[in-house]
Every structure is written in C-alpha cells, then in structure tokens.
C-alpha cells in the first residue's frame, strides 16, 4: 500500500533541492533552447549551396546557360575563381575549397545536338568529393534535373526532360529538415535530461550520506521512486513545450493537431526515460558511474533511434538494438503524431512497448532498491 503523504514529502523535498541547484535549473531551459537552435540551423540534410568549380572547355553560350540553370537550382554554388583545366580544379577540391567540379567538354554543343536527336551521350561530367557522401548524393540528384536548355541549332525546341519520375513529397512538401529534426530532437533532449536527472537521484542520496538515514525510516521503495520522478515529469513537459513552441516560431514546424495523442505519447516517453534513469541510479555506485551509464544509453539513442539516420536504412542488428531504446519508439510516435497527424489509436504497437518499458523498469528499480546496507 502506498502512502500519498510520504510520496508528497519526497516530491516536495526534490523540488526544494532542485530550486537550490541553479545550474540544473538553468539547464532545464537552456538544453532544449540551445540544442534546438543548433540542430535546427546546423543539421540540414537537404544540401544546398555546395561550392563547385566549373571547367568550361567549350567556351559556348550553351555551357553558360547550363551553369546558370544549375546555380538556380541552389544545389550548387559556383565559385568566382576561374579554372582552365581539371587538374587545377582538382587541387582546389583536395584543398577543400570546393566539393564538386563540373567539366564541360570541348564538344558540348555537338553533344547537345546529338541528345536532341536521341543519341544519348552525357552532356558533361560532375566530379564530386566522395569524402562526404551527403554532398555526393546531392550532386547525384542533379543527374535527374530537367533541363530547359535550348540548343544552338534548334532555336525553338526545348530539351526534353531527362527525368523519368515525378516526385511528390507528402507531409513536408518543401523538404525542410527542421520539420523532421525538431520532433526527433524532442526525443533526444528528453532522453538526455530525463535519464540524467533521475540517474543521479538515488545515487546522490547514497553518495552524500543521506541514504542511511532514509532507509531507516518507514519509506517504501516504490513511494521513494514515485516521489523522485514526479518533479521531473513537470520538467519534461516544460522542455517539450519550449521545443514545440520555439520549433514552430523559428522553423515553422507544425504544432500537433492531435494534442491529446501528442501529450499521451510524450508523457509515456517521459515516464519510460525516468524509469530507465532510476534503474541506472539503483545500480550505479557513484554519480560519475550514473553519468557514464547515461551516455552509454544516450549515444545509441541519438544514432540509432531514427533521429539521425532512417531506421529502415540501418542493418538488422542495429535495428534490433534500436528496438530496445525507448527513444526509437518515441521518434516514430512523435513524427507520426506531429508530422502525419496520426491518432494514438493508430499507433498502439509503439505505445504498448513504451508502457512495457515503464512497468518493467519501475518493477526492476523498486526490486533493486534494498532498505539494507548488505
């Protein structure tokens, strides 16, 4: 049987202690704020303005038109410096000044004519910097770019589009990565702060010598656990609100239309992260150990949860590991709810996994916590 009075006593004490700890208090607000701005602006998977060189061996007006078209696509930005041969351009790429080279051959105009007659020779060549595959992929996508070039000998006919498919983008038509990143960022920041706060919660009492007194009182382990996580639920809600509000204001990330579903899955994830932290706290002997264990969970949560790389693209073993992380399930849930306006009733699979995390984690943490010193 749980005693609400004792849970309240623990809850109130945690709040008092938290309010004394100015740095932690500041972090509650600063972590989501700074991360959101950093990630939102810096992580941009839609690559734009890749610095590129143009080596025009034809010196034709058609080549200049092609360059202007490419520039207009915003994928590449041709640098001002002029390159007369491929070797000097390659040097500039090795030095990191540019990431791609467009080589336009001497017979460019003839190739253009050939192409209009149906003889499919490439018009020009891209040399890309493979050390960053993201950049390479961006250039690769230019292969399919429909060209509106006019050839010198066919003044009126426009070049047929070489693209085979038309791509229609649902949910995020402008393909802005902030839309994708902000909901994922909620998962990462909650994982970080929620686990970090509670992983220190029990071990701190032990380290600072409060535990011997505490376990000699009639407090029950479950009462202690519940009292300890309650304040952090409120903190989690504050952080999520900051992320959503700021994400909407700065990056026009849509606010969830399914409010109820959003807070339901978010609360479940907050609880799952808090119980995971508690579990760490009952196992760790020092706060440093608790911190290390938190990082141990945080890193795969960032890399494998689908926040950074698509889950489906990961190799099978990585997917299995990802399934063990609450963040993976929440990334799926929150993207579904925020970006695709899904209702919670359509997402029962991941929801029940999160519930499972909470029940198992809480049970294990309570069982781990012994009111004994031996």
């Amino acid at each position: 049987m749980l005693d609400l009075g004792r849970i309240y006593a623990i809850f109130r004490k945690e709040l008092w202690q938290l309010s004394r700890d100015r740095i932690t208090f500041a972090m509650i607000v600063m972590i989501p704020l700074v991360q959101l701005v950093l990630f939102g602006y810096a992580i941009n998977t839609d690559v734009r303005h890749v610095p590129a060189a143009i080596v025009d061996q034809s010196g034709s007006s058609a080549a200049r038109l092609l360059a202007a078209d490419l520039q207009a696509s915003q994928t590449v930005r041709f640098v001002e410096q002029e390159f007369h041969d491929v070797a000097t351009a390659t040097k500039a790429m090795t030095a990191g000044e540019i990431n791609a080279i467009l080589v336009i051959p001497v017979d460019f105009e003839r190739r253009l004519d050939d192409r209009l007659r149906g003889i499919g020779r490439p018009l020009a060549q891209w040399i890309t910097d493979g050390s960053d595959p993201m950049l390479g992929n961006a250039i690769n996508s230019l292969k399919q770019m429909p060209l509106t070039l006019r050839s010198p000998s066919h003044k009126d006919s426009s070049l047929p589009a070489s693209a085979v498919f038309e791509v229609v983008n649902y949910y995020n038509p402008e393909r802005r990565s902030a839309v994708n990143i902000v909901p994922g960022l909620i998962a990462v920041i909650l994982t970080m702060t929620m686990i970090l706060f509670t992983s220190a919660a029990i071990v701190r009492e032990r380290e600072q010598g409060n535990m011997e007194f505490l376990i000699n009182t009639p407090i029950r382990p479950l009462e202690l656990m519940i009292g300890k996580i309650l304040p952090y639920i409120a903190i989690g809600i504050i952080q999520v609100s900051i992320l959503l509000g700021l994400g909407h204001a700065l990056f026009a990330v849509p606010l969830p239309e399914q409010w109820l579903s959003f807070w339901l899955v978010t609360l479940l994830f907050i609880l799952a992260s808090l119980t995971l932290g508690l579990l760490i706290s009952t196992k760790a002997q020092t706060q440093l150990q608790a911190m290390q264990l938190t990082v141990f969970i945080l890193l795969p949560s960032i890399l494998l949860s689908g926040f950074m790389f698509p889950y489906v693209a990961m190799p099978l073993p990585a997917q299995h590991i990802a399934e063990l992380l609450p963040a993976t399930h929440y990334v799926r849930l929150v993207r579904a709810v925020v970006l695709r306006d899904a209702n919670w009733s359509e997402l029962l699979g991941d929801i029940s996994v999160l519930v499972g995390f909470i029940v198992v984690g809480m049970t294990l943490a309570t069982m781990q916590f012994r009111k004994r010193l031996d």
Binding site: D3, G5, Q17, R20, Q208, M211, E212, F213, T217, R372
Partner: protein
C-alpha cells in the same frame, strides 16, 4: 522488560569477523553505551539492531520484533542518528524537519506544532531558514537529534553522536538525552569518549568485535580485577619501564606529573607494599578507579600504557 535482546549476534564481512557472538540485554528506559575504539564493531552492531544489516549468526529482538525479518515494522518506532550527518545540506533546518515529519506521516496540523516544539527545545529557532550545510557542528547534531526524535520513537540509536562537537555542546546534548530518557525513551549510544560513557546507565565495552564487559559504570569499577595507584616522584619514564617488568603490574601510564598504575588484585598488594618497593623518593596513594581504568583493564593491548609483550605472564 527489555527493549533490546541479542544472543550470539555476529556479523562477518568476507573473512573479517566484525562482530563476534555479542549478547545484549538493554532494559526499557535505559541509556546504554557501547564503548570501544574505532573499528571495534560499534557501528556494525547498531546497524544490525536497527535492521540495516542482517546478522551472520545469532538472535536479535528489538521492541519484541525479530530482526531482520520484522525490520519494516520497527522503523516507525525507532529513531536513528547516524555517525555522519545524514540530513540534506542544501535544505534549510525547517525544510529538513518538514521532510522527515512527512516521511513519518505526522499529520500536518500536528506537524507544525511538533516542529516548533523541537526548534525551541534544540535552540534552532533563529536558524530555521538557514541551510543545514552552513550550521556549526553542534547545531547540525542538534538538528539530527530533532529529526531522529520527531516521531517520538520509544527507542533511539545514536552512533557516535558527539564526535564532531565541542565539550560545551556535548554537555548540553547529554542534558537533552537525559530529558528523553526521563520521558521513557530507551537510548543506545556508541562512543569512544570515557566521560560520555560514564554518563550512561549501563555500558558494554567492545573490542575487536567482542564484548569484554558490561554493567553500570560503578559496577564495572568495583568489579575491576586491578587496584589503581597514583605515584609521583622523579624520573617517571624510567620508573614506568621498571614497573612494567613486574608481573603484578597490569599497566602503567603517565598522566601529567604522576604515574597511574594498575596492579592485579590477586597479588594482594597494599599501598605499603608498593611504597616499600618504590622507595622514599616516591609518594604513592590508592585512588578510585576511573572508567578509563576499567577500559584498560578490560581491553588490555589495544590501549596506551599497556604492555603487550608481558600480557601472557600471570
């Protein structure tokens, strides 16, 4: 009626026997002291008696409850003041007491009254908004006692409560303990201070995990197997060396200008015999044994002034 009963209470940590077959009988209302040097098993014994540690062997009954099985039922009835300050440094005096009152489920109406009463009793009224971390040693210890007694426990455990406290505060602290005892609380206190042990109704002398003696301080003094003499005269250091060679002498320790000598009773020495041996340049008189003498007589080798190499000679 007994508040604490233990038979053959033992505790082993790996190969190390921290407490070895200790029997205890602490009557209700008594102030009972554990006296012994550091590492003698005082804290381990207290932890077993509060249910924090399970004994490796032996029977323990505290307030009629079997330990460690019924430890949970005991919690509400006992108070425990740990050796190290174990309240929260970053909470104020008042918040600490409110927290502890909440944990012991003291009703909110009663709570503020009880806290006010404790603040007055332990002279912490003007400190209630001060964080516990910035209190002095004496204030911290009074706060810890207030927290340990907030739920009016019938049995109070104090593990070296005055180790970080000056003598003035120690006297004051003991006044409070006598008040509690007067109100019917049984108190078990561990200490390595002789003057503190002397205030207890009964004490148990512990050494290397074993109980060497127990009884009231005056009983222990009269039951001592040695007589106590004080000798004054020249060159006490050499005299001490010579005296320690005698099989009749249990121990000799210099205290200021005098030598305090413990002589086995079984040899039947009187002051005259000792005086004859010492010669005219020394004066000697029989004195009342102190608790320190009792301690030395019962623990032997662990204490200063003893002579380990001669201990086996009868």
């Amino acid at each position: 009626m007994l508040a604490i009963e233990a038979q053959g209470m033992s505790r082993r940590f790996g190969d190390y026997l921290a407490v070895n077959a200790v029997d205890l009988a602490v009557p209700v209302g008594c102030i009972y002291g554990f006296l012994g040097p550091n590492g003698c098993g005082k804290s381990t014994s207290i932890r077993m008696l509060t249910g924090l540690l399970a004994p490796s062997a032996g029977q323990i009954r505290v307030l009629g409850l079997h330990l460690p099985e019924q430890a949970e039922a005991l919690r509400q009835q006992i108070g425990y003041m740990t050796q190290k300050f174990s309240l929260y440094d970053n909470l104020t005096v008042l918040e600490n007491l409110q927290f502890v009152a909440g944990i012991y489920r003291i009703k909110s109406k009663e709570q503020s009254m009880r806290i006010r009463e404790l603040l007055a009793l332990y002279q912490l009224e003007d400190k209630q908004k001060v964080r516990a971390g910035s209190l002095s040693g004496g204030q911290k210890q009074r706060l810890a006692l207030a927290a340990a007694t907030i739920h009016r426990p019938s049995l109070l455990f104090l593990d070296e409560p005055t180790s970080a406290v000056d003598p003035e505060n120690r006297r004051e602290f003991w006044e409070r303990l006598f008040d509690l005892s007067d109100a019917g609380t049984t108190i078990l206190v561990s200490t390595h201070y002789m003057d503190e042990a002397e205030r207890c109704h009964r004490i148990a002398i512990l050494e290397r995990g074993e109980k060497r003696a127990d009884g009231s301080p005056s009983e222990l003094m009269t039951q001592m197997p040695a007589d106590v003499y004080e000798i004054s005269g020249p060159q006490l250091r050499q005299l001490r060396q010579q005296l320690l060679m005698l099989p009749e002498v249990m121990s000799a320790a210099q205290i200021g200008q005098r030598l305090r000598l413990l002589v086995y009773k079984k040899y039947g020495w009187r002051t005259e015999q000792l005086q004859r041996r010492l010669g005219a340049e020394y004066s000697c008189e029989a004195v009342r044994p102190s608790l320190e003498d009792v301690f030395v007589a019962n623990t032997g080798e662990a204490y200063a002034g003893s002579r380990p190499h001669l201990r086996d000679i009868p």
